[in-house]
Symmetry: C2
Subunit: 323 residues, 2 copies
């Protein structure tokens, strides 16, 4: 059921216009780091707590009447799930979401609260979530809304970049020359690359789940080690990028960056104290790379804070830590 | 050194125009509470983590050249301190801030980091902070920037209401009919009353520091019990409102509301989970009143989330609590 059209810059512009009709722009907050200002795009403030609402809205609003009637199936560790559920409820479409049994409790609860059916799969046991989703789609005639390997999803997430460019123009007198963003499967980063053709795009992945980093170096898609232990950045725990994402990333990103769990926790604490924002680990990955000095800031650097769905207990532990 | 002109709605409009030149509007975030949408004004996302930056900017930009040269003295438990320090640094004005020795460490550190001189006074021991400030002003010829009993401060804080009205018009098709806001000395609430003449304004105070509530009922200014124990809502711990504030509040607010520490903690947790915002106790007081069902929501209800400066340890304790 996956479509094969290519995502385009025009599609990103269209997605941005559709998103702007329904969601106010999230703030672009200035943050001083070592005497320089970086601009933080607070996607954690979206209604579902993550940028994923953008791609889901763009995809579901482009379903045909027939497709709408048969519903959608999403696959997600939690944020895409909530994005699809939010858009589906708003449009009166039935949604089933395939989620890992070890997803954060808050993400499971929020997805159900938005009215979606949650179908669990055994991520720790190695069950293939895409197979589960394909089976559901065949049984129901539903449309698969992939979390990143989908042209609408890529274009929708790219609307983040359109907002960044407009806000930075107003606040700092020009568009971004550098955009640093968390990267799971590459939906957001590919979208940002289409949205910001004049900026360097730097994807940031968590240690052990750096398939995009290694793929960029190798020049071909390399999956993660099938026995890689889970990362605290659950939102970025994707085994492999896909061709539709990699084609864009390979053309635009010379390299990616990897951050450690300790660097991510430090970024969560920094965002807490300096921006008064709650970020989940994956949502803080790009900020972590900047704070750790892994990328030279540009004249106008944007950092995407991609999500804020984390359990209270987990966040309290991060705040209490002194590593 | 306190001026005696009256704050006006025209002054609020002027302040809003000045603030808009330098600070993007903070987001007005929708929040579903018991099936109704309330609109949360996230002033915790201001550069200093609180709305106080507004009044400070309006006041300091209106100083004469002579006044600027002699500097300003602020009196604050922390958020006004940071607002004055931020504005002073930006304008090249010397600032000294009289702060209680028991202010949250993060507020003391942030005020110093903004370049202001911090002069501590013994709040737990009953030292009168206004006397300390007056003495400093006389010694230096500096201008006192009171935290709430000042027409510029009231007008500046009122710019929050101008933004709320414009944002709610765009998002919900009309201005607010109810504005619920945390109340310490009454600077913010008086400003909101001037900014939103058609809305009910409900001030919310912490248990034990409900001087405005009791004053509204009595029809005259009543201070708090001089032996009242400290409240977790340090930002709202003010012994008494003043005539310039009370004149407005008495004319516009039939009553105020009181919230308990447990209600405030519940609101902090709710904002964490549902808005992904870090709120300090005082910043969550108005939300606490709404969540506790103490005020009937209007057709378009605005709730001011006034600040987010809290120590990591304190916030971790709130998240870990199960009261």
């Amino acid at each position: 059921m996956t479509t094969t059209r290519e995502p385009t810059a025009a599609g990103v512009a269209l997605a941005a216009a559709k998103v702007a009709q329904i969601l106010p722009a999230t703030p672009l907050l200035p943050l001083e780091v070592d005497g320089r200002t970086i601009w933080c795009k607070a996607e954690s403030l979206q209604p579902v707590g993550a940028f994923k609402i953008r791609g889901a809205w763009h995809r579901l609003t482009d379903l045909t009447e027939t497709e709408r009637a048969k519903g959608v199936v999403g696959v997600s560790s939690g944020n895409h799930a909530q994005g699809v559920a939010w858009a589906a409820r708003r449009l009166g479409v039935t949604a089933a979401i395939v989620m890992p049994v070890d997803a954060p409790a808050v993400k499971l609860a929020n997805t159900r609260a938005l009215g979606a059916e949650v179908v669990l799969y055994d991520r720790p046991g190695g069950e293939d979530r895409d197979e589960v989703a394909e089976r559901l789609c065949q049984e129901r005639g539903a449309t698969l809304v992939h979390a990143y390997a989908d042209p609408w999803i890529i274009e929708g997430q790219g609307s983040t970049g359109i907002e960044i460019a407009a806000q930075m123009q107003a606040l700092a007198g020009g568009g971004p020359d550098l955009v640093v963003a968390p990267c799971g499967g590459g939906g957001l980063t590919a979208g940002l690359a289409l949205a910001c053709p004049d900026a360097r795009i730097v994807p940031v992945e968590p240690e052990g789940w750096d398939d995009v980093c290694r793929s960029l170096v190798a020049g071909r898609i390399l999956p993660v080690d099938p026995f890689a232990p889970p990362t605290p950045c659950d939102a970025l725990q994707t085994p492999s990028t896909r061709a539709v994402n990699f084609a864009i990333l390979h053309a635009r990103c010379p390299f990616g960056l990897v951050v450690t769990p300790a660097e991510v926790r430090a970024a969560q604490r920094f965002a807490f104290a300096r921006l008064r924002l709650v970020l989940e680990p994956g949502g803080a990955a790009a900020l972590a790379a900047v704070l750790a000095g892994k990328v030279e800031p540009g004249a106008r650097t944007a950092v995407v804070l991609s999500g804020g769905n984390t359990d209270a207990e987990a966040f309290a532990r991060v705040l209490s830590g002194d590593d």
